[in-house]
Symmetry: C2
Subunit: 318 residues, 2 copies
């Protein structure tokens, strides 16, 4: 069996631990198509937070407390940059992380596409799945906000890390998405998939930038494989992160049902065949989509693998 | 009084401590024209070892034991790069140093010349003198060697750090020097100087690359200011570093007199008006050049400042 997962963020990386565990149990192949909208160049370094979260989490090197970045991280480079007075100073640039960014940036500057760079980095991390960026092209999530009395678009990282989303926020823009092509391997993986899973990632800033690449969305929405999403909202609140703030910007209710309806049924131009929600959201209504309520807390790898098993069942491919 | 110092390497940086001390005592201005032949791009970072040695040493942040790099340095980035298996792995890339390189590289990539970047970095280090790279243009010292049975040119850093100079070595090549222009401010400083000092740096790989820039050598050799050199050789051996290996490659004897003769008297197309040697080299003969023997060990800032005072006297400008 071939499983493709659309994913981003820390929740998405943790979901992949369960996907990998269940895939090993049933002998399935997994390809993760990872959000690149968070990617940003800072201090000359190309930083790909979501790809790194996947590599570090599946490579057993993620910081379990902080969620992002490396366990045992140190911060000498960041402190020194601050002493030089160079901006941005608000970004969490760890020393171990810096090495990852240096390797990546050097390869990108030498002309390798991000997908090839990611494959090279994964030689170290051995994630046990295929990790693909959604696109090799530049695609950045920007956020239209009011800051210091002025309306402007800032990079998603600035909105998220510097301002913790606490600015009057008008909309999210996926710069470059319209002309971006899916990265090498992405369309083939989707075409060959037995099922496509949408991870319980932030639908607005982790999943939407992936689907903003027109041929990618087209391949998922009109492909042969059933599509099953896993709700990132449990009991009216995001499991982690700031999906509530993001959904509010879109004037979408913070509920499992509303997110399912936002993705929408395939029959009506949406994405979903199935929508897995938490037991506490058993009443969620997503017309035209098979829903099922199971425990959705990713307490550990075993619990997460069970969610994946449930998602495959809901997609009719278990 | 205006003093210009041609300098490179760790010995040159330490000499500048004495120049600054004496200049403060007599109310003189100092401009250091620093070797850039050691500069190298590694892991996408533009590294300028000699400029950094000057900044860190005069900024009070140099490691006193190791000689190069920052005191209290850590090595997380370097260890991580090694775990990714990327080369070169033999270069001493410290975490604090990495921040300097990131700031520099970002500014260079944004189009600022190295002289402007150096001035910006010096805002942090407050060296108390003007620090100029010899050139804003690319100029790299390469070394023609036999390695693994093959004759090839390797970067100076590879020769020096990786191989410790222990390869059959044929010659040094200053790539880019012929077409390089002196950096902004260099020719003005030399034209306005009351004296030009040649630091007791390695003459072959620290001073020669500076003088390999034709208009720069021309400005020193035919300028109005007297030129006084300080011998890097004491009692037939280099004070520090590998000047002996470098001189051997040029078939120049390792002695204070031979280095003085290599620089040569101005009257015969050379550089020197005066040549300061150590007491133990009192018999050194440099025809056409005023020589003087004084204690040349840079034991501390006071002893070094006295050497500078002696050099100015020898140049007739004290």
């Amino acid at each position: 069996m071939r499983i493709v997962v659309l994913t981003g963020g820390i929740g998405g990386a943790r979901f992949l631990l369960g996907v990998r565990a269940h895939a090993r149990a049933i002998g399935a192949d997994v390809t993760a198509v990872v959000n690149v909208g968070d990617d940003v160049r800072m201090h000359g370094l190309q930083i790909c937070p979501d790809l790194d979260s996947v590599m570090y989490t599946l490579g057993g090197a993620a910081d379990p407390e902080r969620g992002w970045g490396r366990v045992g991280e140190t911060w000498v480079v960041k402190e020194e940059l601050a002493k030089y007075g160079v901006e941005p100073s608000w970004f969490g640039l760890g020393d171990k992380d810096t090495a990852t960014h240096l390797v990546r940036t050097t390869m990108l500057n030498a002309g390798y596409p991000l997908s090839a760079v990611t494959a090279a980095l994964c030689e170290r991390w051995q994630p046990g799945i295929t990790v693909l960026p959604a696109s090799d092209d530049r695609l950045e999530t920007h956020v239209v906000v009011d800051v210091d009395g002025e309306r402007k678009a800032i990079h998603f990282q600035e909105w998220w890390v510097r301002y913790r989303g606490e600015l009057p926020t008008h909309r999210f823009v996926f710069r470059g998405a319209e002309s971006a092509k899916p990265a090498a391997g992405v369309l083939d993986a989707i075409a060959a998939a037995d099922v496509v899973l949408i991870a319980p990632s932030n639908p607005v800033v982790s999943i939407a930038p992936i689907l903003a690449v027109p041929p990618l969305r087209e391949a998922v929405a009109n492909g042969p494989a059933p599509v099953v999403g896993v709700s990132p909202i449990i009991g009216g609140a995001p499991v982690r992160g700031m999906a509530d703030r993001c959904l509010a910007t879109l004037e979408v209710e913070v509920s499992a049902g509303a997110v399912g309806r936002m993705y929408g049924p395939r029959a009506e131009g949406g994405l979903l065949d199935g929508w897995l929600v938490d037991e506490s959201d058993a009443g969620a209504e997503v017309p035209g989509v098979r829903t099922r309520a199971v425990p959705l807390w990713m307490r550990d790898e075993v619990a997460t693998a069970r969610m994946v098993e449930d998602a495959l069942e809901l997609g009719g491919v278990s």
